[in-house]
Each structure stands twice: as C-alpha cells, then as structure tokens.
C-alpha cells in the first residue's frame, strides 16, 4: 500500500498495546538475599537454607555438575546478550518468622503486594473458588484453602513444604518428566530451584477448586527458579492456573522455571498460564528473560493433559509446554496465544510425542505480533511406530499489526506409522489500514475494531481458559468479549 501506515500504527495501536505496565511497582521489604554468584557452595547453601533431605542435595549437585558441562542452546531465534550467571543472586526471600501458623503472621507488606496485584490472600476477600499459592521471589508466602483441600486428601502446598512433609512423593516423582540434563535451563533450575507449588490429587477425586500459583519476581538482582509438580492419580482431575508479574527494572531478570505434570489412568490435568512478566520498555530495555520447561506425562490409559497459555509479557520467552502421550488413548492439548510488541521476542510452541496406541493431540497456536517484535511458533509432533491409530491436529495462525514486525512458524511433524491421521492448518493475516478504515467508515471506533479482530483471532484459545483467567487474559489482550455472542 502506498499509503502511510505510521499514523494508525504509531498512535492508536501503540496506545492500545503499550498500556503502561501496572504491575511494575517493587515492594520494599526486608529480605535475605544470597551474594551473587553460582558454585557448588551456593547450591549446598540453598539446600541447607531449606533444610532439605540428603537426596535432594544430591539431586541438585548432580544437576549443577551436569549444567556446568552444558551450553546455552542456540537453535532458537532469540537474540540477547550472554547471560552472566555469576551476576545473579540465587536466593532472595522476604524475612519471615520461622514457621507460619496462620495468615496473620504473614508480613502485611507482602499481603498488600498481592492485594495490589489483584490476588487477595486474606480470608474474607480471597477468591471463593480458587486456592492460591503465592510465590514471592524465591519462596512461597502463603497457600490458601489448604485445610479444605486436605479433607479430600488433596495436597496443595509450596514445594518447600512438600519437601519437608512429603519427601517420599518428591523423591519418587521429581525429575521424572523433566530429567536432569534435559536442557540447559531446566538443568540450571534443577540445581538451584527454590520454591514453587506442589499438588497431589488422590485417586477418584475431582478437585473441587481451581488451584493457582501466583509468581511474583520482586528483587532486581535475583533470578526466579521455581519448580512445580502436579500429580493426578487415577480417575482424578484438576484445573491449575498460573499467573506471573514482575516490577519494572532497567536490567533483565532471569526466570528459569520447570513444571512437571503427571496424569495417571483416566486422570485429567488442565494447566493454564497467563504470563505477564515485565516486558521491557518501548526501546527494549529491561524485562524478564523467561526460559521455561513445561512438560506433562500422560502415563495412564485415557489420561489427558491440556496446556493453555496466554503469553503477553517478558522480554524473551523460550517456552514449549509439551506432552508425552505414553498411555494408550491418552490425549494432549496445547492452546496458546502469544502477543509480542516493541522489542519483545517469543520463541514458543509445543512438542507432542505419541507413544501409546490411539493417542491424540491438538495444537492451536495464535501469535500476535506488533511493533518491532519477533514472534516464533515452534512445534514438534512425533508419532512413534507403536502409536498406531493416533491423530494430531495442528493449527498455527499469525496476526501481524504494523509493518515492522516478524512472525515465523517452524512446524515439524514426524510420523513413523501408516495408520495415523494428521491435519495441519496455518494462516497469516494482518490488521491492515484498509480493515481499520472499513471499521471506521461504519462508525466503529478503532479500539473496538481491533478488540473485535483480536478477540475473534484468539477465541479458540481464550475459551479454554478458566473463567477468572479468561477475564484477565481478555483484558490483557485489550479485548472485550461483550461484543461477541455466546
């Protein structure tokens, strides 16, 4: 088009997409923080600090030694300056009393922080149908509804607590889905992880509440390395949500998390993320480096794991929630919206490995790129020769806003048998000046027009989110669903 698009892209679109990051505040709080740097002593110190059993220290040291021999992966298309791992503090915790017996003992400053983030942890105002584990830098601050859940035998607590209270479960399952040495960042996490959430749903229990972890990076100098483990025993089901924010700093903070899910026979785990880490300013300064390994193991017959993610933040995102479909007739799903703007870079997607017979997977990926950002979908579907009668459906759509952005997709599909059915669809569209003019000429404001287009584009994914999150996600994507029917 000969006509100058700057006017529209640079004013209204930018205004819409660049709404100031309202979670960018930092909390002043007395904290205990390790000196910067990483070596075996630091790993030991983390373990000692947390009074961990011997097996866990061994786990960490093994990971650390492995990590030392590994190299940062280079196959992604993210561009960033080399991370100085000696310039990061690996432990930062708000100073609290040794053991919290009730919410009253939690530092009010912390409660207020979460309150400001819209996560109320105190009795009266807390969400009635969601149990929350709130993680602040390296430690879990509080977990709500623990007792209520315990009545049904559900364990939902911080990883630190799980290590103390249920060491046998941790020993049995930790690192079984994402083994030490799996990749550079997960191995680093295995060495230095501090907190995260642990969840166990016993046999035949449908978890009555949505479980949720809220991650908050507060400290400028420390990295966040959380570890989450969710186990759904036979015939159980759980819906898990995860939210993330961080203050606005000019420097980059490292976030390298590992999430492991295990679903046994007939069990279902639905894991949703709304990621809104600080993404850096309009010139690309600051923001979170987000390197996350998420993997689910469908170990039992007819088990199901479903990942839904809405990725809007972070300066860099490197994340591929995956499913290993081992049990016959097991099912994996991946629904994703990744929005990048300014200088954000996202390299995200999924991996579906079909091992059991008649396994199914479904991938719906939506990338929205604006500004000068780079948005990459990377998918790998592997159907093994024993996975007869399996099916995969993949769809990756890209939406471009403006003329300076970049969207790439790398879908790889490998099938080793002849009885599998596959479908792959892809599309690229653009919110162009002519479309916007069409809306305007019909009297519809540019904001409403874009909302409508974005909401239409993301509908397949957003409807997969639990209600509470769908609202946040839609807000985040500057879209309102009230303009749509049903």
């Amino acid at each position: 088009m000969p006509y100058e698009s700057k006017e529209i892209s640079n004013t209204v679109l930018t205004k819409l997409l660049n709404q100031s990051y309202k979670y960018g505040f930092a909390t002043e709080i007395e904290k205990e923080i390790f000196e910067k740097g990483l070596n075996e002593d630091v790993v030991r110190a983390i373990s000692r600090k947390r009074a961990e059993p011997e097996f866990l220290l061994e786990f960490r040291l093994k990971a650390y030694r492995k990590w030392k021999q590994m190299k940062c992966p280079e196959w992604h298309i993210l561009k960033f300056s080399e991370i100085d791992y000696q310039n990061i503090s690996y432990y930062s915790a708000p100073k609290v009393k040794e053991k919290l017996s009730s919410l009253d003992e939690v530092d009010p400053e912390l409660l207020e922080t979460f309150e400001k983030l819209g996560i109320s942890l105190s009795g009266q105002k807390r969400l009635t149908n969601v149990a929350v584990d709130a993680v602040f830098d390296s430690v879990s601050v509080v977990t709500t509804f623990k007792e209520e859940l315990a009545e049904q035998g559900i364990i939902f607590c911080s990883m630190s607590e799980a290590v103390q209270e249920y060491p046998e479960l941790i020993k049995k399952y930790l690192g079984t889905v994402v083994p030490i040495g799996d990749n550079y960042f997960s191995t680093l996490n295995s060495a230095v992880f501090t907190d995260g959430s642990f969840c166990y749903i016993p046999k035949n229990v449908k978890c009555p509440l949505d479980l949720s972890t809220y991650f908050r990076i507060n400290d400028e100098k420390s990295g966040q390395f959380e570890r989450t483990l969710v186990i759904a025993d036979s015939n159980s089901s759980v819906c898990y949500l995860e939210g993330c924010t961080a203050p606005q700093y000019d420097s980059n903070q490292l976030h390298a998390a590992v999430v492991e899910l295990i679903a046994f026979e007939n069990a279902t785990i639905k894991y949703s993320t709304v990621q809104n880490w600080y993404s850096g300013n309009q010139d690309g300064k600051g923001g979170i480096y987000n390197f996350v390994t998420k993997r689910g193991l469908c170990s039992g017959y007819n088990s199901k794991i479903s990942w839904t993610q809405v990725e809007t933040g972070s300066s860099l995102t490197w994340k591929y929630p995956s499913c290993l479909l081992v049990g016959d007739k097991s099912k994996g799903e991946f629904y994703s919206v990744a929005l990048t703007n300014n200088f954000q870079q996202a390299d995200t997607g999924t991996r579906m490995v079909h091992i059991g017979k008649e396994t199914r997977s479904r991938i719906v990926s939506k990338g929205i790129s604006a500004g000068k950002s780079k948005n990459t979908y990377r998918g790998y579907v592997h159907i093994n020769n024993n996975a007869v009668g399996s099916r995969n459906y993949s769809q990756c759509d890209s939406l471009l806003i403006g003329n300076l952005t970049n969207a790439t997709t790398f879908p790889v599909i490998r099938v080793d048998n002849s009885t599998t059915k596959l479908e792959h669809e892809a599309s690229t569209s653009k919110i162009g000046e002519e479309q916007i003019f069409y809306f305007l000429q019909r009297g519809i404001s540019i904001e409403k027009g874009i909302e409508l287009m974005i909401s239409g584009f993301c509908r397949d994914v957003v409807t997969e989110l639990p209600l509470e999150f769908a609202a946040e996600a839609t807000r985040l994507l500057s879209l309102k669903l009230e303009g749509t029917v049903g």
Partner: protein
C-alpha cells in the same frame, strides 16, 4: 434551512503521495437526488469517494466538503459515519475472525449511541437485521459468516447494501457497486437501492457502465476526468457516453 444541500463540494483539491488527483472539484447534491459519476479509469472517482469517507492516505490541499452545511473534511472517518455518510466500497475487505453479525451490530450500536439511543442486545438486534436481510435477499446463515470472508463478488456487494440499509445513511456513495455483479445480483442490488432511496436522502453512484443506470434512474450524470467534473447532464448523457466513449468529450 430546508434547502441546504446534503452535500456541497467546493474547489476540492486532493493529493496522494504528493501527486494531485482531485483538481478543483465542485459538486452539489440536494435531498432526494441520485447522482451518477462516470469517467475513465484514473480520473479520480474512487479517490473522491475515499476522501469523503476520510481515508487517511489522502491529503486535502484545499476546498470544502459541506455535509448539511458543515465542513466534514476536518472530521474523523467515524464521525462522518455517525453524521450519516456511508461509503459502499469497490472492494469490500475481508475481516477474518469477526462475524458479520457482530460487525453489523457494533456498527448499528455505534450509530445509536451517537444519537443517544440505547444500544441493542444481540437478540433485539437480530429482529432488526432479519427485516433488512430480506431487502438484499440474503439468508440468515450469512450473519454467522465472517465479514466478507469467502464471499462471492455478488455477496460482498450485497453486504455493502445491507449495511447501507441498516445504518439508514442520509448520503450514500456507492463506489462501483455494479462491478463484478451478474444480471440477477445487479437486479437485487438495484432493487435494494431503489427501496432504500427516500426524499430526505441522496445517493452518489460511481460507475463505469451505463447498465446500472437502466435499473437506478439518476437525476444527474457527471463525467469526471483528470480530477474535475468536465460535463454534467441527465440520464441521457450516460447513454451518449456508452455509444461515443469518453474520448468524445476531449
């Protein structure tokens, strides 16, 4: 003030990328009138329609466009729409992921809220749109499809007329609405336009061909060339052009 023209263009000069397209254009359209603008390719007809719509690609170098006495050139495109100016596009654009129904309702409600009338909810709107669908002979399945996506040429044009009827615009500029239509679709579209036309409205038809004017009777026919109106006449002028070609006027 009843005799104020709906549209009065005075010495309109417009450029795109520093190239002057419209050169001192003058035109007056009164209530109840249908004007046809004809002219060879590149004479500035589509530019004229887009400039009135407020397309940001064009730079107005001078002149006025009075809509019921008010110059609309400084107004935003959506404000012009709210005032009752409608542009039926030559190439209606596809909008993936947005259903026709949502799009139409949003446009309709934008108009209502401009007039301080309450917006309609989806159910109320459905009964409004059902009636209008009949005017362009479209089935209601058409509402659930995405805006113009996968529409045939005829469907796209009928969708434009549907929007015009729905928004009940006072001044409608139809940019080559007849192009790409077969005879049956042309009849439906023309009938829709004729049903819609009232004494308090006005229509500007931009067209290459006389055949549209067999169905819609214009009060005036203008010939545009090189960014100006070089001749104005009655419906007979169009017939004459059909035989002699534009060269005849040079």
């Amino acid at each position: 003030m009843n005799d104020t023209p709906i549209l009065e263009i005075k010495n309109l000069k417009v450029a795109i990328n520093e190239r002057e397209i419209l050169k001192s254009l003058n035109l007056k359209v009164n209530k109840g009138e249908i004007h046809a603008i004809m002219g060879p390719n590149g004479s500035g007809k589509s530019t004229f329609s887009k400039v009135l719509g407020g397309h940001p690609a064009y730079t107005v170098l001078g002149g006025e466009a009075l809509f019921n006495g008010t110059d609309i050139l400084p107004l935003e495109p959506e404000e012009r729409s709210h005032l009752g100016l409608f542009l039926a596009f030559q190439y209606p654009i596809e909008i993936p992921g947005v259903s026709n129904e949502d799009f139409l309702r949003l446009a309709y409600n934008a108009q209502r809220s401009f007039k301080n009338e309450p917006e309609l909810d989806p159910l109320e709107f459905l009964s409004v749109i059902q009636n209008k669908l009949e005017i362009v002979k479209m089935s209601s399945t058409f509402l659930s499809r995405n805006v113009n996506e996968g529409f045939s040429g005829g469907e796209k044009k009928r969708n434009e007329i549907l929007q015009m009827v729905l928004l009940d615009s006072q001044l409608s500029i139809l940019d080559e609405t007849d192009s790409g239509l077969d005879i049956d679709a042309l009849k439906i579209v023309s009938e829709g336009i004729n049903t819609f036309m009232k004494n308090d409205k006005a229509i500007i038809l931009i067209t290459h061909y006389q055949r549209l004017l067999d169905y819609i009777k214009p009060d005036f026919v203008h010939v545009m060339q090189d960014g100006k109106i070089i001749k104005t006449g009655t419906a007979n002028l169009a017939k004459e052009l059909e035989i002699k070609g534009y060269e005849w006027l040079k």
